[in-house]
Structures are given as structure tokens and as C-alpha cells.
Amino acid sequence: MKTLLTLTVNGEQREVVVPVHRTLLEVLREDLNLTGTKHGCELGECGTCTVLVDGEPVLSCLALPIECQGREVTTVEGMARGSELHPLQQAFAELGAAQCGYCTPGILLTAQALLETTPVPTRDEIRHALAGNLCRCTGYTKILDAVELAALRMKAPRPVSTAPAGVAHR
């Protein structure tokens, strides 16, 4: 049995006709082609598939889209404003916080949720916020550094830049 669902994803209204048991992860990746959201276990254990629902980190492999109707879903594709990267994305790229990059979308979104509620988190608060997101490459060090840097920059007045974000080398 399939159901028509209306979802708001990254600020756009999208309609999908899917079986009701289809997970949010599957709908995002397979029906909406938003493959930026990754999967590491599909059992809610690794945090890789994290997206934001109304700003809260949610494991999309365990979430049902039917519960997300009328709520705002944000994936990694929704973090940048046009070509301007989110400060977290910028900091992650600059500081080498993404090695293989597979856990990166989930960690970015979890960190974004943290910075919404705690604009200047301590290192320990960052550790606690990210404790549910596994990363096998980085030893977390550069990830913690990048979240700190992004928080710092978001607090400071934004510098004016004409270069498209992501193209500048440093």
C-alpha cells in the first residue's frame, strides 16, 4: 500500500508516493535523490544518516516520513545558502575534518543543531553532542576543532567576501 506524502525538505515542498513503512532515509535517497544523506547501519546505531527535523537531529534510518509531514526536514544539501557554505561546512573543509567524508553530513547537521541552541559550546559540550556520530577516520580531533572554529566565526560579524564560498583556497 502506498501513500501520498507531502514533505518540506530543505525549504521545498516535495510530494512522494511511497509505502508507509519506507524510512525517511530511503525516501530522501531513493525518491528525492538527496544522496548526501548516508547510511552506516540502518539500525540507528552510528549516526551517519542524521538529518534535522524541525532543527532537531533525527536518525533518518529510524524515522518514518509520515511523521515528518508538516515539519521542516533539513539534509546536508540544505545547509548552504546558494553557493555560500554554512560556516560549519567551510570550517570542516579547511581543517581537514572530513577524511573519507562518509560520516560528514550527519556530523555537520548534528553540529548545526548544537550551535543553534548553544552558540559557543565548550569542547566538552561538542563531544557530548557528537557522541552518537561515529567517525572511523579522524579520531574526532579535527571535527571538534572545526566545530569550535565555526562557532567562533558565527559569533563574529561575517566578513564580506566576493569570492564564491568553497572556491577560495583557504
Partner: protein, 800 residues
């Protein structure tokens, strides 16, 4: 002092931007028109004969396009090493482990494919499963494979360099210790995935999350019985490898065959549980080490024995076996050395290479034994190590050539940074500090199949647009190897890394590189890319020199310009110079090739261990041990790593930090263990790995030098730094609470057991109590090459 413009800078990786916006397309992100989804049926039995497989009900399920068993594939066994051709993609006669693949389905979607696998009927005749080293040696009447160096013995080796018994006779202290290192797995965040498309022209394309597209390419031809030129393998960006994506796998082969039969592209993505069974990870190794020490802490000789639990197949196991005995000799002076090793088959997922491949286990044993000896001799363990370092540019007992060695500085720097002098032996009870040192290859000296061709090939292409493209078969698995190639080309050509495109490994388009293993890419592909870029540079300079009417030697390339040294205005833009060169010569595409110097020892097994150069690391760990619960908490870690020249310090730090993290997981948590043939904990929740909360602050110190073998002097960074953290933690626990845990991972239970023994006045040690009854082959006695000067640098193949 040479001035670098790109080398040595902490630049972002060239693929960082794509990764932070979710643009990077990993294998499972690929979707092709009409694509079918595949699933494998895997064995539920650890050891059984297959009496019958009936796929009729699966075939009848609506939405199923094809079902295959091993009978649909050529009946040919394969394996990554030419000496261990013992695998089948889909087992026909026998299964040797839970998780062995038996059949594969292609269907309209994943759910249908999975349902179809459940409809396949398999009748087994169970055989006795052999689940441990002891059990498999005790039951020679049960045979897992019909080949090897004895019943259930895959490989048994014995080598002696110099007279070890005479060395022990000279010693003031001879120690014998036994250690056990439990197996663990890579746990990459990305589950393996492959998409195969067998075109109507009879040609096959495979996209796969593989670290070794070249080896997959070679083996697919054999496995599928298709001419190799008709196969194209494209490496998708790898979402974490660590050695776990180095073999050809059943899902890749099944996807190809299913695509041929259905006329559709077929994707197979493994589940997390399947990844645990696919494994090829760290071998469980039981070890015995006997070492002679002088009063001053110097080593007179060492005898090392290892028994490896290999699991159900050969995989890289012969190399793993030799690696458990190869690199003991490259850190401290060991004039006489004997190694005996045996790898056995058991009915568990096959072990293979994981970060450090076969060397973290013996390094743990050796560094812990040295600590015990230091205590007995009343020496400071850091000083004892520092005084006995191998001399640079000499050979070891087992004929390995060491070039530069920065281990002395590494030890000094971590001792200084950690406050070792005021902490060692002086911290309050429950707190301790320990040290460990290590070394690792910068690329294996030999390919896994014998040949005289380059280990790494590159083409650098430039054209009138000013674009520079790098074509290389190397695979970026997150370590940043594509970026390293871009930095090196940018350095040579005086342009910006962002002007360079590095293309992913594609066997149709990119010259062969052997793959991302043995920490070889920066050095080997790096040297090849420098050669190619220098050839291009020479042509560009010639063309510009003619135009500017100056001798070539007076020109420099920098800041995207070609100009007369000292007169920036007298010159032209890089792109203009390329136009001149292209006008003169036609297409500008230059090859670079690299093969390591031929230094393998002239004995059987001498091919495992040689490397162009070795990295060195020293690590100090401070731990808190809770004597009530047995819990061990690493409080702080200092590591110094001799990386030669850090081509990009940011990326080197990232490799070091990731290695430390992975070592911590291995020493305190991670274990791949089984009950009745079934993995006890095949999930990311239960297979404990460190989170942000268990990973302490890591202080990374890069010790730089200039190794003559490395590209601009660089050595490896991706594996070596994992090695010292394990013994450093164990030694720190000993200094904290006075107990010795000779078996990892170190669970709270083991610590409590050792503390209890201490309270009872018994030897406060937990570790292996007995060793297997096993007769190693008679040793090959070879003259020790210890202390001999390194050969004057022989002409490297392809160097001119």
C-alpha cells in the same frame, strides 16, 4: 634551503568541498537507468558440505530478474595472492564460515531481492567447525582446505638470521613472554557497494568501493573468464577502507554476472552485518618472544614466534604471516634474529590486512616485553629505547634497508611534551604513564604478483586552456592521496592546486597503480607524478625560453607564471607558456613511472618487509585506572611521528590522529569474536568503538626530515602511528597499578582479575597461559646483515 610554495602548507584537500556539501558520489549513490538491485544469500553454517541448493521458488517470485549460484560462474578458484587461490564467489561444494555466499538474486528492488534470497532452499551436511588456533591444530582429521603447509595450516615459516642461541648466551637477562592480540575489524563507515553494467557490446564496467581497482580488474578477468581488456573498473570514492576493501569480493562478482544475465545494471550494497562477515581484518595472533638483554638495555638477540588465526580463507594471509615477523628489527639494534610463524585456517571470516597489516600485534608484544625488561634492569623505559636505535642507512639482521630514522627525536619530543621525567613512576596510584615506539613501511617493496612493471603510473596532461589533469590509478580512500598528487604537480609547475584536476582510478583511462595499501601512494604515485610533471615542466620551459630568448636555466615557474629569475615581469602566464609548448610539440601528455629500489633479501620470504623507507613514531599515554571497576581511561596522548617531509601538515596530523584513535579502540574495546560460528556482536552498537567521549585529547608532533626515497623527502603517515599507542597504553596501565595485561583488548574484567592476583600475592599478570603444540619447519639459516651499510643507492627502475 629550497623554497617550496605548496609543499609544507596546510591546505584543504581538493575534494573537501564536495564532501562537506554531500556532492561526493560513493558507490551506493550511483543510480543508472533500468538498474536492478542484488542480494546475496549467505551461509548460516560455519562448516558444511552443500548437498542441494534449490532456487526455483526464488525465481518464481514476481519482480525477480535472475538468480545465480556458483554453477552459473566459471568453476575457478581465486584469491588476492597467487599462492592462495582458495575462494569462490558463490560456494558450490562446501561452506567454510557463516557468511560465505551461496547464491545471488537480481530484482526490481532491494526488498524483493531480499525476499527472494529467503526463498532459496539450501540443504547442508554439517561438518565440525574449528573455531580457534588450538582447536584447528588439535583436529587434523577435519580439513577446512586441502592445501597448505599441514592439516589446517595455511602457512608455516621459519627464518634465522645469525646465531640466536649464541646471542642469548651473551645476555645478562633473557626474558620469555607470551602475548595474545584478539582480532578486530576495520568498521569503515561505508558499507561496501558495487554497481556493474555489462553492456550490449559485451564489455563490462564495474564501479566499486575498492582500495585496489587494479587487482579487482585483474582478478575479474580470471573469475568471469572474460578478456581483461573488456573489463573496466572505476574506483568510487571510498567511505573508509583501512584495509577492508582490498580483496575482490563476492558482491562485486555477483553484480557483474547478474548484469550480464539480466541486461541491466545491477547494484549490490552490503548490510552492516555482512560487512562484519566480509571482514579481512586484524588477525588474532598468539605470540611468544624470547629476547636477550645486556645490563645497559641493549638487545643481543630475539626469537619471535607467532600463531595467526587466519579464518576461512587465505586472503593476504601469507603476507600477514611474514609481517608478524618482519619489522621487529627496524627500530632497535637486534644483531641476531629468529622468526617462526604459522597461520591456521578456522571457520570464521577470513582475516587480512588492517591498518598496520600484521605488525601491530608483534609490536605490542615486543614493546611490552622491553618495558618489563627495563623494569627488571632498573632502566628508564624511554632512555633504554633511545640508546639502542638502529643506525640510519644500515641493514637489519633480516636484510631490510633502513634509510633515515627520526625515532630518537620522536622519543625526545614526546618525553619532553608529556612531562615524562617528572611523571614516570611518580604519579599517584591509579594514574600511570607509558611509552611505546614503532615503525612502518612506506609502501611494500614488491607487488603482490611478480612483475617488472611500475608499481605506480601517472600521466600528466596540459593543454591550451591552462588546465592540468592528473591521471593515476591510485585510489583516494579519505587519506587525501588525490590532493597530495595535486600539491606535488602544483609545486613542480608553479601553479595552484585548484588549477589541477585529479581523476579517479579508472582502468580504461588511468595508468596502473597497485592500490591504496601498505602506505604506498604518497611515495610511489608521488614520485611518479613528480617525474611526469618534471617532464612537462621541461617542455614548457624550453618553449618559454625560446620565446623569451634566455637560457632555460634562468627561468622559474611560480605563481602561475613562467619568468626570468629575479624579473617577474619578464615572462608570461603559465597558460601562455603551455600554448607555446603545445604549438611546438603537439599534445602535451607525459608519463611518470615508479618502482621501488630492488632491495629484497635473497631468501624465501625476503619479499615481505622491504620498503623504500620506514616511518617512525613514539607515543606516550597517560591513563587513569579505576581500581574498583577495572576501567581504563586514557587521559592524554602525545605522539611524535617521523614523516620525513610533511607535504601537508594538516593531512599528516589527520592521519596520525585517526591512527591513534584506531589504536585506542583496539587496545581497549574492539574485538571480533564468535559463538558457534556466529559473530557475537555484528553491529555498530555492540562492537564497541571509541566515540568522541572515549577519545582523549591527542597532541601530535611532526618530526620532519628529508628522506632520499620520498617525494620531496616524505614518508608515510597513515598506518605507523597506530602501532605505538597499543603498547603505550598497556605499559601505562602497568605503571598505574602494577599489573601486566598481556592480552588485548584490555577489558575491565582483565584488569580486575590482575588486581585480584596482585592482592593474593601472585604474579599480577593476565595473558596466555599456554602455547600450542606445534612443530615449526626447520629454520632457514641466513647470515645476519645487521649493521651493514645500506647499498649505495642503486639505479631505481624507470628513474630516467
Amino acid at each position: 634551503m629550497k623554497r617550496f610554495s605548496v609543499v609544507g602548507q596546510s591546505l584543504p584537500k581538493i575534494d573537501a568541498w564536495a564532501k562537506v556539501v554531500g556532492e561526493t558520489r560513493y558507490a551506493d549513490d550511483l543510480v543508472l537507468p533500468r538498474m536492478a538491485h542484488g542480494k546475496l544469500l549467505r551461509s548460516s553454517q560455519p562448516h558444511a558440505r552443500i548437498k542441494r541448493i534449490d532456487t526455483a521458488r526464488a525465481r518464481a517470485l514476481p519482480g525477480v530478474y535472475a538468480v545465480i549460484t556458483g554453477h552459473d560462474l566459471p568453476r575457478v578458484k581465486f584469491g588476492i595472492l597467487p599462492v592462495s587461490q582458495d575462494e569462490e564467489a558463490l560456494c558450490v561444494e562446501k561452506v567454510r564460515m557463516v557468511g560465505d555466499a551461496l547464491a545471488a538474486v537480481a530484482a526490481i528492488d532491494e526488498e524483493t531481492a531480499e525476499r527472494a534470497t529467503e526463498l532459496i532452499e539450501v540443504e547442508y551436511e554439517p561438518l565440525r567447525p574449528l573455531m580457534s588456533i588450538e582447536e584447528t591444530l588439535a583436529h587434523p582429521e577435519v580439513r577446512i582446505h586441502e592445501y597448505g603447509d599441514g592439516p589446517n595450516v595455511h602457512k608455516a615459516v621459519s627464518l634465522e638470521f645469525g646465531d640466536v642461541e649464541a646471542a642469548f648466551a651473551e645476555a645478562d637477562l633473557v626474558r620469555e613472554d607470551a602475548f595474545y592480540f584478539e582480532g578486530n575489524t576495520h568498521l569503515p563507515m561505508e558499507q561496501h557497494a558495487a554497481v556493474a553494467q555489462w553492456g550490449a557490446d559485451g564489455k563490462l564496467t564495474l564501479w566499486s568501493s575498492t582500495q585496489t581497482p587494479h587487482y579487482v580488474h585483474r582478478l575479474l578477468a580470471k573469475i568471469l573468464d572474460v578478456p581483461q581488456p573488456h573489463i573496466r573498473v572505476i574506483a568510487a570514492p571510498v567511505g573508509g577502507g583501512f584495509g577492508g576493501k582490498l580483496d575482490p569480493f563476492a558482491h562485486e562478482i555477483a553484480a557483474c554476472k547478474l548484469s550480464q544475465l539480466t541486461g541491466r545494471p545491477v547494484k549490490i550494497t552490503l548490510t552492516r552485518e555482512e560487512v562484519f562477515y566480509v571482514h579481512r581484518g586484524r588477525h588474532p595472533v598468539l605470540m611468544w618472544v624470547k629476547t636477550g638483554f645486556k645490563r645497559d638495555g641493549s638487545i643481543t638477540g630475539m626469537h619471535f614466534r607467532s600463531w595467526l588465526d587466519g579464518g576461512a580463507y587465505g586472503s593476504y594471509g601469507v603476507a600477514s604471516t611474514f609481517y608478524t615477523g618482519a619489522l621487529q628489527t627496524v627500530t632497535y639494534k637486534i644483531p641476531a634474529y629468529k622468526f617462526e610463524g604459522a597461520r591456521v585456517f578456522t571457520n570464521k571470516p577470513p582475516c587480512g590486512p588492517k591498518r598496520g597489516h600484521g605488525t601491530p600485534q608483534p609490536r605490542f608484544a615486543m614493546e611490552c616485553q622491553i618495558d618489563k625488561a627495563a623494569e627488571q634492569l632498573g632502566l628508564d623505559p624511554a632512555d633504554m629505547r633511545r640508546r639502542n636505535l638502529v643506525e640510519p642507512f644500515t641493514k637489519t639482521a633480516n636484510h631490510l634497508t633502513v634509510t633515515t630514522i627520526g625515532l630518537g627525536e620522536c622519543i625526545d619530543r614526546v618525553v619532553e611534551a608529556s612531562g615524562w621525567r617528572r611523571k614516570f613512576g611518580q604519579l599517584p596510584p591509579g594514574k600511570g604513564i607509558g611509552i611505546g615506539c614503532s615503525s612502518y613501511l612506506t609502501g611494500a617493496g614488491l607487488a603482490i604478483y611478480w612483475n617488472d612493471m611500475p608499481h605506480s603510473g601517472v600521466v600528466v596532461r596540459a593543454d591550451r586552456s591552462g588546465l592540468v589533469a592528473v591521471l593515476c590509478g591510485a585510489t583516494d580512500i579519505g587519506q587525501g592521496s588525490d590532493s597530495i598528487l595535486a600539491y606535488l604537480v602544483a609545486e613542480v609547475l608553479g601553479i595552484d592546486p585548484k588549477d589541477i584536476r585529479v581523476h579517479p582510478a579508472d582502468t580504461d583511462l588511468t595508468p596502473v597503480d597497485l592500490g591504496s595499501y601498505s602506505s604506498r601512494v604518497t611515495l610511489m604515485a608521488g614520485n611518479a607524478v613528480i617525474q611526469a610533471a618534471e617532464r612537462l615542466r621541461a617542455k614548457i620551459l624550453d618553449a618559454a625560453a625560446t620565446k623569451l630568448e634566455v637560457p632555460t636555466e634562468r627561468l622559474v615557474m611560480r605563481d602561475r607564471r613562467v619568468f626570468v629569475e629575479g624579473d617577474q615581469d619578464r615572462g608570461m602566464a603559465f597558460a601562455q607558456a603551455v600554448v607555446l609548448a603545445e604549438s611546438q610539440l603537439g599534445v602535451l601528455a607525459f608519463p611518470g613511472s615508479y618502482a621501488p629500489p630492488r632491495r629484497a633479501g635473497k631468501y624465501k620470504g625476503g619479499g615481505v618487509g622491504p620498503s623504500p623507507c620506514y616511518s617512525y613514531s613514539a607515543c606516550v599515554v597517560e591513563v587513569d585506572v579505576d581500581q574498583e571497576t577495572g576501567e581504563v581511561k586514557p587521559a592524554e596522548i602525545w605522539i611524535a611521528h617521523d614523516v620525513g617531509r610533511a607535504l601537508n601538515p594538516l593531512l599528516v596530523e589527520g592521519q596520525v590522529e585517526g591512527s591513534i584513535y584506531m589504536g585506542l579502540g583496539e587496545v581497549l574495546m574492539e574485538e571480533q569474536v564468535f559463538r558457534k560460528g556466529v559473530h557475537k556482536i555484528p553491529s555498530m552498537l555492540e562492537y564497541k568503538s571509541p566515540t568522541t567521549l572515549e577519545t582523549p585529547e591527542i597532541h601530535t608532533i611532526l618530526v620532519e626530515g628529508d628522506d632520499p626515497e620520498g617525494p620531496f623527502g616524505a614518508k608515510e603517515a597513515g598506518q605507523g602511528p597506530l602501532l605505538p599507542v597499543i603498547p603505550a597504553v598497556v605499559n601505562a596501565i602497568a605503571s598505574a597499578v602494577g599489573v601486566r595485561i598481556d592480552e588485548i583488548p584490555i577489558s575491565p574484567e582483565k584488569v580486575l582479575k590482575a588486581l585480584e592476583l596482585k592482592r593474593q600475592g601472585k604474579t599480577p599478570r593476565v595473558g596466555p597461559e599456554r602455547l600450542p603444540l606445534f612443530t615449526f619447519p626447520a629454520p632457514k639459516v641466513i647470515e645476519s646483515a645487521f649493521g651493514q651499510p645500506a647499498d649505495t643507492v642503486a639505479e631505481r627502475p624507470f628513474s630516467s
